[in-house]
Amino acid sequence: MSSEQKPFVTDDTQVQTETRDARMAGADDRFNSKLREAFGSSPFILTKFDKFMNWVRGSSMFMLQFGIACCSIEMMHTYAIKHDLDRFAAGVPRASPRQADVIIVPGTIVSKFAPRMKRVYDQMPEPKFVVGMGSCTISGGPFQESYNVVKGAEEVIPVDIHIPGCPPRPEALVYGIAKLQERIANGESSPVTVKPYELEQFGDLERDEIVDKLAEQIDEDDLVMRYNWADSP
């Protein structure tokens, strides 16, 4: 396991987010089996068992049926005949996040959608993995200068695999999934980078001009996502 590798973190004081903290707490939690907790000692069997579990995880992935934009068309082609992602043990799209292990983020994320995507991601059970498909999930892609586009999926949820392209070809997506499976089977997790946008209660936001303006419109305990466009890459 690569748990000794320290995740890459930039400015710690600025960014404290729950998902990242969860991932940073010691070894990546997603790979700790309940059995390890229960038995603690007897490392030999459990090491093997963990390896086995990781292999199983990588070999049977349920994808979330999650279409956002252009890339989802290529994603459909990847699921359909000819490319047939199912051959690689990763082909059954699940309509509910509760049943899915992997979320492929296929497209541009805009301000109105980011909170919903975060919610969908939160609804998936651990261990969960994210594949960012296309340039938009890397940096905002061709829409990076837009007033409404979030500059990459990683600003909202942690991403394990990035697949560049606009859109990536189905072959590229298959390759990305295969790489993800390889990493899961090896028990590797990805470093978590800076992720400034988190759902938080409106009352917890620092008071400033825009918060004051919206105070009448939004309840204190409503969940909101605040976009600091000026700080975006």
């Binding site: 934009a69 359909a80 005949i81 109105k112 959608f113 200068e145 409404n148 939004i218 969940l223 466009w229």
Partner: protein, 555 residues
């Protein structure tokens, strides 16, 4: 191209007299006149919008509000109503409504054309013009809590914004809405397999029946208009149209921009390039209709079964051909102003052979679809007589494309406002008058046949084209700077309907205002009309039969 040269002149002569006629009709309502490249423009007072539009609709027959463009100038705001006719597309008129900078209030056009509802909401959202007496003037594309109007002149893009998650919170928390009956509020989407993307449908149901329905859009608002306003005419805009209607309809969208900009900058396209364009565009139409077919079957049957896979199989073939032609599977970026970027791939015989094989196999494939879909009793039971959209309603909402043609409206820009090579080819406009989900499906399937016919003829033409006359691009200056204050609105027949673009030039190499008229945006507006009072599964089928693509709805 001699025929192309003559046409605009004829139009101009006709329009001049037409403009005078309309000026006589409108009389005192007109403050002053403008000349747009596509139509005469009349400036009117902001409190006489309805009067003017009623007059034009009822007395001059302008029954199609194609688009509403809003924009901000240094000294004023302006809404432009682009009117035309379903029966005669080339008869156009622009109604320009200026409003003051301090108090941008203008009368709503919603009582005249119901499609103005959403168009004006978008104008309010992005530009900031308020429409008096509008039934429901709130933001449509951006979150309700957004600050400022992003296409206004003084918008600061770096200001922080806040979006809430609770707008459409847990549906169980508010399980009744309205005053009486046991109604329940359901969110369908924005993440839902049946919404074809990130559409959110706020539905109120009474038992199994839809009582009230409100499509909530904007989950894919990528500010395409802003991106185009930031790009130069010559090269930087062309990649974006591919991403409006991204279901492989790229070339159709590119044509919308190409046509508008070519008319704006007065560029002639060589005939050879027009044939390549026509062929490519029709291939895209087939690819687009295939996915409409596959996902519609998916919606109705509810599983990733044979039909979806068959449709994808045929799409793969089209995509391979398009990849040979353009070098990309989806985001082609193949058109250039004045032509296309490169000639057909070598060896040409092989390429033609590939297309011919596809066209030859198509009847058999369609036969298969008809076996599985249209002659299937289950599907018939689900689609015949559901999602009824009468033609008058469709017109009032500005529906176009297969949605309009499925309601018996004989309207197709390829024939009614000819461009490219369509008017020299032999093909028919497909119209079905069932007005229901089944008709819309049939229209798409029959259009695939017509497209195949067009492609066949284009291939024949291209094959016999003399080798030394293969001119793929006109001579276009490196930097295009159309004259200041030239305005144009042009449309083409996209896969989903009338895809129009309004451009106002300001003398620089970038457009001052770039407005996209998306066919899906108008078509989606008809959903409440089709579904209210019907069963929920029929609503899903209607949504599928509209064949919306959210990239184009939200832009």
């Amino acid at each position: 191209m001699s025929v192309e040269e003559q046409e605009p002149q004829e139009d101009a002569v006709q329009e001049r007299s037409r403009g005078d006629e309309l000026a006589d009709l409108l009389g005192d309502l007109v403050i002053s006149r403008e000349e747009h490249l596509n139509a005469p423009g009349f400036v009117i007072r902001p409190d006489q919008v309805q009067e003017t539009l009623f007059k034009l609709r009822d007395e001059a027959g302008f029954d199609h509000l194609s688009c509403v463009t809003a924009q901000e100038y240094e000294d004023r705001y302006e809404s432009i109503y682009h009117l035309t006719k379903y029966d005669e597309r080339t008869d156009e008129v622009s109604i320009v409504v200026p409003t003051s900078k301090d108090d941008p209030v203008s009368q709503t056009a919603e009582p005249v054309f119901r499609t103005a509802d959403w168009h004006e909401r978008e104008a309010y959202d992005l530009v900031g013009i308020r429409y008096e007496d509008h039934p429901d003037l709130r933001r449509i594309l951006l979150p309700e809590t957004w600050q400022g109007h992003p296409l206004g002149l003084d918008y600061d893009q770096d200001r922080p914004q806040i979006a809430t998650l609770t707008e459409h919170a847990n549906p169980l928390a508010q399980d009744s809405r309205g005053d009486e009956g046991n109604t329940m509020f359901i969110n369908i989407g924005p993440h839902h397999p049946a919404t074809h993307g990130v559409l959110h449908v706020e539905t109120v149901v009474d038992g199994e029946q839809v009582v009230d329905l409100d499509p909530d859009i904007g989950y894919l608002h990528r500010s395409e208009e802003q991106m185009c306003q930031m790009g130069t005419y010559r090269h930087q805009i062309m990649p974006y149209p591919d991403r409006w209607d991204y279901i492989s309809a790229g070339l159709l969208n590119e044509w919308a921009y190409a046509r508008t900009a070519e008319d704006l900058a007065d560029i002639e396209v060589p005939e050879y390039a027009q044939i390549i364009r026509t062929m490519g565009a029709e291939l895209c139409r087939i690819a687009s209709h295939m996915i409409a077919l596959g996902t519609f079957a998916l919606d109705v049957y509810g599983d990733f079964t044979a039909i979806f896979m068959y449709a994808m199989r045929d799409r793969e073939i089209v995509q391979n051909i398009l990849e040979d032609l353009t070098g990309q599977r989806m985001m082609f970026n193949y058109f250039r102003l004045g032509g296309v970027v490169w000639d057909l791939p070598e060896p040409r015989e092989e390429f033609f052979e590939k297309i011919r094989d596809f066209i030859d196999d198509l009847p058999e494939a369609l036969e298969e679809y008809h076996d599985m879909i249209t002659s299937n009793e289950i599907l018939q039971a689900r689609t015949v007589g559901t999602g009824v959209l009468p033609p008058e309603v469709a017109k009032s909402y500005g529906a176009t494309g297969p949605v309009a043609r499925g309601s018996g409206i004989d309207y197709d820009l390829r024939r009614d406002d000819p461009y490219g090579y369509y008017d020299k080819l032999d093909w028919d406009v497909v119209v079905e008058d069932g007005c229901d989900n089944f008709s819309r499906l049939l229209v798409r399937m029959r259009e695939v046949e017509e497209s195949a016919k067009i492609i066949q003829q284009c291939v024949d033409l291209l094959e016999d084209w003399p080798e030394d006359e293969r001119n793929i691009q006109a001579n276009v200056p490196r930097t295009l700077k159309p004259d200041e204050d030239t305005e144009i609105y042009r449309a083409v027949e996209g896969a989903k309907g009338e895809l129009g673009i309004y451009i106002r030039a300001d003398g620089t190499d970038k457009p001052a205002r770039f407005k996209i008229r998306s066919p899906c945006f108008s078509n989606l507006q008809t959903l409440p009309e089709m579904s209210e009072g019907e069963y929920i599964p029929d609503m899903i089928a209607s949504l599928g039969s509209l064949d919306i693509v959210l990239g184009e709805v939200d832009r």
